[in-house]
């Protein structure tokens, strides 16, 4: 039983990070029909930007700020202006393939400029355990969970409770009408790219102490987050959150109670089942897409 509790906490912590990354997926899809197959690499890169900042002498807190800012510039602004905008007019598929190419480019660049070997990465949450209901739970898991929940809560508040959020939703749901009533649609789309960049940088900061900074660490993450987004519902932020948590927990429980050898297969089987029986995702809306 204590084992189950440990597994749930560890699964939720991993799942919360999948959720952060999956939310980015759905945001980009909703506002600009971009399926970003480089999303995993987007999570890998900020850790290296932070390491580079520390390498030139910045303290950890400053490195975090610089890393997040640089990520927003590179993975938000530059990504949109240099890759998405020029490719968008050719349709969804060429853009998706371009993001795959970008993923390879980022990986190779990191391998070239840093190293192919993993590096340790400091944790913003102190290591150690605290006791909850008589169970030793790692502070790192709890910290990751809390920070991820805060980020998601902040995002949903922004989307649902502020004028800016309403404008973003309007731009996503019906850009033509939004433009007529005076919503600066282009700026709203850019904003979602910046939010996505912030979310992946945060995910990077949280997951890298556990995964280690390595050029290939985005592959697993990107895949898990993609599955999470589809399972939860590609057109719903709350769907992506639920999907992320579900995949995280499922992965851990499968490893413990099914087979460590087939753990990677279980989320895939789940994904196939969802696509077969509920293609819009667990919490997704049935309509295909906007406009």
């Amino acid at each position: 039983m204590s084992n189950l509790f440990d597994l749930l906490v560890a699964g939720l912590a991993t799942g919360a990070i999948y959720a952060l990354v999956a939310v980015g997926f759905t945001l980009l899809w909703q506002t600009s029909q971009t399926i970003n197959f480089a999303q995993g690499e987007f999570v890998m890169l900020p850790a290296f930007l932070m390491l580079a900042a520390m390498h030139v002498g910045a303290p950890f807190w400053l490195a975090i700020i610089l890393g997040i800012l640089l990520s927003m510039i590179l993975l938000g602004l530059a990504f949109k202006m240099l890759l998405v905008d020029p490719m968008m007019r050719h349709g969804v598929l060429p853009l998706a393939i371009a993001t795959m190419a970008l993923a390879i480019g980022i990986k190779e660049a990191v391998k070239q400029f840093f190293s192919a070997e993993a590096s340790p990465f400091p944790s913003i949450v102190p290591t150690g355990d605290i006791s909850i209901l008589g169970h030793a739970v790692s502070l790192q898991s709890i910290g990751v969970l809390i920070l991820a929940i805060l980020a998601v809560f902040g995002l949903t508040t922004l989307l649902n409770r502020t004028s800016l959020g309403h404008q973003m939703q309007a731009a996503a749901q019906n850009p033509t009408v939004a433009r007529i009533i005076g919503v600066p649609v282009e700026r709203m789309i850019l904003l979602t790219f910046l939010i996505n960049a912030f979310l992946v940088a945060l995910a990077s900061l949280l997951i890298t102490p556990i995964y280690l900074a390595k050029f290939s660490s985005g592959e697993v993450l990107g895949q898990a987050a993609f599955i999470a987004a589809i399972v939860g519902g590609f057109n719903q932020v709350r769907g992506a959150i639920a999907g992320g948590l579900l995949i995280g927990v499922l992965d851990n429980l499968a490893a413990a109670y099914v087979s460590t050898q087939y753990r990677a297969a279980v989320p895939m089987i789940f994904l196939i089942a969802v696509i077969l029986f509920r293609p819009q995702g667990l919490l997704g809306r049935a309509e295909e897409r906007t406009v």
């Binding site: 084992n3 993993a118 340790p120 429980l253 499968a254 413990a256 753990r263």
Partner: protein, 376 residues
């Protein structure tokens, strides 16, 4: 004018060939760039050091050694092309590569050319394909795992063992041998856990180990995954002693795992920290020449050249075709050939038998705790 040039060219050709006849040519193909650059550079430097020493003392049977280095870029495809090129120049012996994957694709080329290949790979299968020209410089899994199992059974006194392994050729090869040996000795395998290469989350695996409550845990993963599982084992409070191979207690693992690596033990075939005077001497000479402390790959490269020297002197002639036959079954004693550093015996497959070391991580440092004797 033309004829003068021709004569000149001919003369040059003759003198060059003459010079070559005096030296013994070795060819080295190693991972000098790419992911395995550390492996290949250490290997190359070890070779250069050994050749420098041997030549300073008059060479082998009065002839100097000479080596050409080629870069495999840590890529089996490039390694194959480089080895083919090296073999075309008809070397006396081929040295390298260090990566098992590169050895696997190049060994048939060397065998076909009838050239002996002394390499750094450690995968079990390499010497099991009946290749009569391939020799190791370090243990393959079939030599190291029996020692590991014996230590777990005899010294750790473990009646029950959890085995965690990475699901690839390397991991499965080691797991198969160690489980067979453990069961033969009478230690029960209570958990047999396969993990994925690149796996990040070990909470479930460690949970299973905890539930099995073994007397010892054998961890056989790549270095990064080793670091992650060490952290998780510490976090979940697993107190059973941890045993592994070089991949569990390597310097990289200690750097990545921090405190969690303390107490982990591993079997190491070659280490420059070994309490052996000849190895200490090697380490000093190497550090003086290259300004850094070599890893075991530096030792392997160094030993490869001394294998060439000892075998050639044993034959009493420089005979490329008879070399492999002479090395099969040969025992080289460090008392007779100090460059070989420790007594070593080669069997009919090209596998080696040699003493090895039991290393424990103490306060972030590798400490040699025990010398494990030769098997035979």
């Amino acid at each position: 004018m033309k004829s003068t040039l021709l004569v000149g060219a001919l003369l040059t050709a003759i003198t060059t060939t003459g010079a070559f006849a005096q030296t013994i040519k070795l060819a080295d193909v190693a991972e000098l760039s790419g992911g395995g650059a550390t492996v290949g550079t250490n290997w190359k430097n070890g070779i250069d050091l050994a050749i420098e020493e041997i030549n300073a003392k008059g060479g082998v049977l009065g002839r100097k050694l000479e080596v050409t280095h080629a870069d495999s870029q840590s890529n089996p495809g490039v390694a194959r092309a480089q080895v083919q090129k090296a073999l075309d120049a008809e070397p006396y012996v081929l040295l390298g590569p260090g990566y098992s994957g590169s050895v696997k694709v190049t060994a048939p080329l060397a065998a076909e050319a009838g050239i002996t290949q002394i390499m750094g790979g450690e995968a079990a299968e390499l010497t099991q394909a009946g290749n009569k020209f391939l020799f190791r410089t370090s243990f393959g899994q079939q030599s190291s795992m029996p020692k590991v199992a014996k230590y777990i059974h005899d010294d750790m006194k473990a009646k029950s063992v959890a085995v965690v392994w990475v699901n690839n050729d390397f991991g499965r090869g080691g797991r198969d041998v160690v489980i067979k040996e453990l069961e033969r000795l009478g230690s029960k395998v209570v958990a047999d856990l396969s993990t994925e290469a690149g796996q990040a989350d070990f909470a479930a695996d460690v949970g299973k180990i905890k539930a099995a409550n073994p007397d010892a845990v054998f961890v056989y993963l790549n270095e990064e995954e080793s670091a992650r599982i060490l952290k998780e084992l510490k976090r979940q409070g697993v107190t059973a002693p941890l045993m592994g191979e070089t991949t569990l207690i390597g310097q990289k693992v200690i750097e990545l795992a921090g405190d969690a690596a303390n107490g982990a033990r591993g079997h190491v075939g070659l280490t420059t920290d070994a309490p052996v005077d000849l190895i200490k001497g090697f380490r000093d000479r190497f550090s003086k020449k290259y300004n850094y402390v070599p890893d075991h790959n530096g030792l392997k490269g160094y030993l490869a050249v001394y294998m060439v020297k000892a075998t050639t002197e044993k034959m009493g002639k420089v005979d490329s075709k008879a070399f492999a036959d002479a090395l099969h079954g040969l025992t080289i004693k460090a008392s007779e050939e100090p460059g070989i550093l420790m007594d070593v015996t080669f069997d009919q497959n090209g596998d080696i038998d040699r003493q090895s070391f039991l290393v424990e991580v103490v306060e972030g440092k590798q400490v040699v705790k025990q010398v494990l004797p030769k098997v035979k």
